[in-house]
Symmetry: C2
Subunit: 398 residues, 2 copies
C-alpha cells in the first residue's frame, strides 16, 4: 500500500480552496461500512475504510473535522490533515449535530449527483438517516449537491496524482509489449488474458477494472466488442486482428489503454490496406479529439470533433463516449467527453480544466479482419492536451 | 474467478420466493458504474460489474428482467438466470418505464435502508434520477424499502454459499497455524502482517477486509485494539500476548476469526493465571452467546446473553456488537447481534433465521499482558448455532 498521507493532505487543501471558489460553506462526506458501501470521495480525503457511521467535514475557512467511531480514531489521526477528530461510542448524532450547528453553514454540500457517479457516494438510506438526525434543525434545507466540489477535486489532478497515473501507464504499456511478444496464432483470447493476469500477479498489481474484463481481448472479426470478456472459442489467426483494452491500477491510480495488432500471413509484407486505412482514420479522429481538448471546452464538443472526423471519413459513429476521466478509477467520473445522449445525463456539459487526465478512445470494425481500436491517456495543460501514453502510430504486427 | 452462474441462479430462485413470502410484487436493483459505485445486492443476483445504467427486476411471479447497455448484454446472457434481457444504446428510461408499466407492481422494492448497509446500495442521486424517469407515472408512490427482501436473500445462505464460507474458514485457520509457527520475540506487528500477506499472495487470495487492517495484530498491553493497523513500534515480547483478527476472501466468500497467543518466558510452565482466567471468561461468554443464537431470537437478545456473561464475571462490557453476518463481506449487513445503541439503528431487532452464518466475537484486556479476544464463525441450524470454525479452546503458546 502506498503512503497516502501526503496525497490526502494535498486534496484537503484543494477542497477548502474549491469550496471558497464555489461559494459553498461546508462539505460533508457521510459514510458507514465503506468496505461494503464505498463513497468514491472518501479515497481522496481519507484513504481508509470506515466501519461505523463517520462524518468528514471541510469548511470554506479550512476547518477539517472528522467524527468517527472510537476504534477508528487512531487511524484517522495517523493519516493527518484533520484539524479536529471527535470520537464516539454509542452514536454519531449528537456530535454531528453539535458540530454542524456550530459551523452553521448556509450551504452544506452532500455527495449526491444524478449525473456524476463519482459524486454520488451517499446512499439513499443513509441520506434518510441523516435527515432524521437533523430533523429538529433547518439544516436539511441547506443541502446542496457536492457535484461541482467533487468534480473539481477529483478532476484537477495534483502533481503526485499525475506521477502515479504516468507510472501506471508505463507499466501497462510494458505489459502490452510483452503481449506482442507472447501472442501466437492458435492461442485463444483467454490464454492471452491469463498471460496478462500472470504478469499482474508477479508485480502484485490489480487490474484497473474487473479482472474478468481487464483485459478484454478480441481476436478476429467474429469476437464481440465492448465489455465482453475474453472467450476460449476465439483464437488468434493469421490474417486477422487482435485488439486489447487494458490497464493496471498501481499505487491506487489507473491507466486505460487500447492497442491493436495484425497477425501476419506468410504472404503479407504489411497489414492489408483496409486495416491500415481503418487505423489511420482512428488515429486521425483521436488526434482531432486531442486538438479539441482544451481548458474551457465542454465535453460534448471534444466528442463531436472526433465523431465528425470518423463520420466524414465514411465510417460509422462509435456508440460510446470519446473519453472519460482516468485516475483513481479507470472511469473516474465527472465530465464525460461524450454526445448529449440521455444516458450521459449532464456529464457531457462539464467544462475541461487544466490538470484533468482523460482516456480518449474510439475504433472501427474492418470487415473480415476485426476491430481497430485505439485508446490513449492525455493530460490537459493550459496549452491543450498532452499525451501521457506514447501513442500507437501504426498497427503492430505479430 | 469462480463460476458464479449456479450461485446467481440459486439466489434468483430464492429472491422470487422471498418476494412472494413478503407479499412484495417486484424488486428493482438499479445501478450504474458499479466498479466505482457498487450495490452489494448485485453480487448476489448478477455477479458482474455494469458500466451503463442497468436495471434488474425480479417479480413475485418469477419473472427476471434485465435492462442493460448493449455492450453488457452478452455478459448478462452468459450468467444465465434472466428470462428477458433488453439492451439499449442511448438511454434506459424508455425500456425501464415500459417494463415497469407492464408489470404494474403495487409495491416496488428498491435498495435503500436506514439501518442495513447491505440493503442500501441505491445511491441518493440515482434515486433522484429514477424518480425523474418515472415522473409521469405514480410508480414512485409504490416504492418500498427492499431491506426485508435483501436481509432474507443475503442472510439465508444456500448450500453452495455455506461450502464456500467453510472453505474460507479452513484457509484462514491454516494461516493462523502458520503464524503461530512463524512468530518469534522481537518481531514487530508489521512483520507478522507482512508474513500473512505473503501467504495470501502465494495462494492468490484477497483479505476479507482492507489489507491495511487485515490482519490486525496486537502485540502486548500497549498496542491499541480495534481497527488499528499493525505498527512497527509494537514488538512481540516474552510474557505478553499476541492477538490477531483476520480472514481471507476465497471464491468471493469470507471468514472472520480471532486467535490469541501467549509468548512464553523461560520461567513459564503455562500462560499466567490472569491470562487463562480472561480466556476462560471470553470463551464462556462466547458459548453463552452461541446458546442464545437460535432461529426466532432477535439480534440484541444474543448480544445480551454474551454481554451479561462478561459483566457477571466482573469484566467490563465490550464496546461493540457480539456478532455480525459473514458471507460475501466480512460484515455482511442485515441483523446485528448487538445492543440497542443508536449507531446500530434497527439492526439488533432483526430475527435470526436458519441458514444464517455469523461471526461472533468478544474480548477482554488482561492488565499487563494484552488483549484476549476470540472470534468464531457459526451456522444457525433449526436446532441452534453450530461452529463452522474449530473453536480455540485454550490460549496458544509461542
Amino acid at each position: 500500500m502506498p503512503d497516502n498521507s501526503r496525497l490526502v493532505r494535498e486534496k484537503l487543501d484543494q477542497a477548502a480552496a474549491i469550496l471558497d471558489e464555489l461559494g459553498i460553506d461546508a462539505w460533508l462526506t457521510f459514510v458507514r461500512e465503506t468496505a461494503l458501501s464505498p463513497d468514491p470521495s472518501l479515497d481522496l480525503i481519507l484513504g481508509l475504510d470506515m466501519v461505523w457511521q463517520s462524518a468528514f467535514i471541510v469548511t470554506r475557512d479550512n476547518q477539517r473535522i472528522a467524527i468517527v467511531g472510537k476504534h477508528d480514531m487512531e487511524n484517522v489521526e495517523a493519516v493527518g490533515g484533520y484539524t479536529t477528530i471527535i470520537p464516539y461510542v454509542e452514536g454519531i448524532r449528537e456530535s454531528l449535530l453539535s458540530v454542524l450547528l456550530q459551523i452553521d453553514p448556509q450551504t452544506l454540500a452532500l455527495n449526491y449527483s444524478e449525473s456524476d457517479v463519482a459524486a454520488d457516494g451517499l446512499a439513499h438510506g443513509l441520506m434518510l438517516l441523516l435527515q432524521r438526525y437533523l430533523i429538529d434543525t433547518d439544516l436539511a434545507e441547506r443541502f446542496v449537491s457536492a457535484e461541482p466540489v467533487i468534480a473539481a477535486l477529483r478532476g484537477r489532478k495534483s502533481h503526485l496524482e499525475v506521477e502515479r497515473i504516468q507510472a501506471a501507464i508505463e507499466t501497462t504499456l510494458a505489459i502490452f509489449y510483452q503481449v506482442g511478444e507472447f501472442a501466437r496464432p492458435g492461442m485463444s483470447e483467454v490464454e492471452v488474458a491469463s498471460f496478462v493476469h500472470d504478469l499482474c500477479q508477479e508485480q502484485r498489481l490489480d487490474t484497473a477494472w474487473e479482472a474478468d474484463y481487464c483485459p478484454t481481448v478480441s481476436a478476429g472479426p467474429s469476437s464481440p466488442i465492448g465489455h465482453a470478456g475474453p472467450m476460449v472459442q476465439y483464437v488468434i489467426k493469421p490474417g486477422a486482428l487482435v485488439h486489447m483494452d487494458f490497464g493496471v491500477r498501481q499505487d491506487d491510480y489507473c491507466a486505460d489503454l487500447q492497442r491493436v495488432w495484425y497477425v501476419r500471413r506468410d504472404e503479407d509484407d504489411a497489414p492489408p490496406h483496409a486495416v491500415r486505412q481503418g487505423f489511420e482514420v482512428v488515429r486521425g479522429a483521436l488526434q482531432a479529439g486531442l486538438e479539441a481538448l482544451v481548458p474551457g471546452a465542454q465535453g460534448w464538443q471534444v466528442d463531436a470533433a472526433a465523431r465528425t472526423a470518423i463520420v466524414e471519413a465514411g465510417y460509422p459513429e462509435y456508440q460510446h463516449a470519446f473519453g472519460h476521466h482516468v485516475g483513481r478509477a479507470a472511469h473516474d467520473g465527472s465530465t464525460v467527453l461524450g454526445p448529449r445522449w440521455e444516458r450521459y445525463g449532464d456529464t457531457p456539459m462539464g467544462v475541461i480544466e487544466a490538470g484533468n487526465v482523460f482516456a480518449i478512445e474510439l475504433g472501427v470494425e474492418v470487415e473480415g479482419y476485426g476491430y481497430v481500436g485505439q485508446e490513449e491517456n492525455v493530460l490537459v495543460t493550459p496549452e491543450g492536451g498532452r499525451w501521457l501514453s506514447d501513442p500507437q502510430t501504426e498497427v503492430w504486427v505479430i
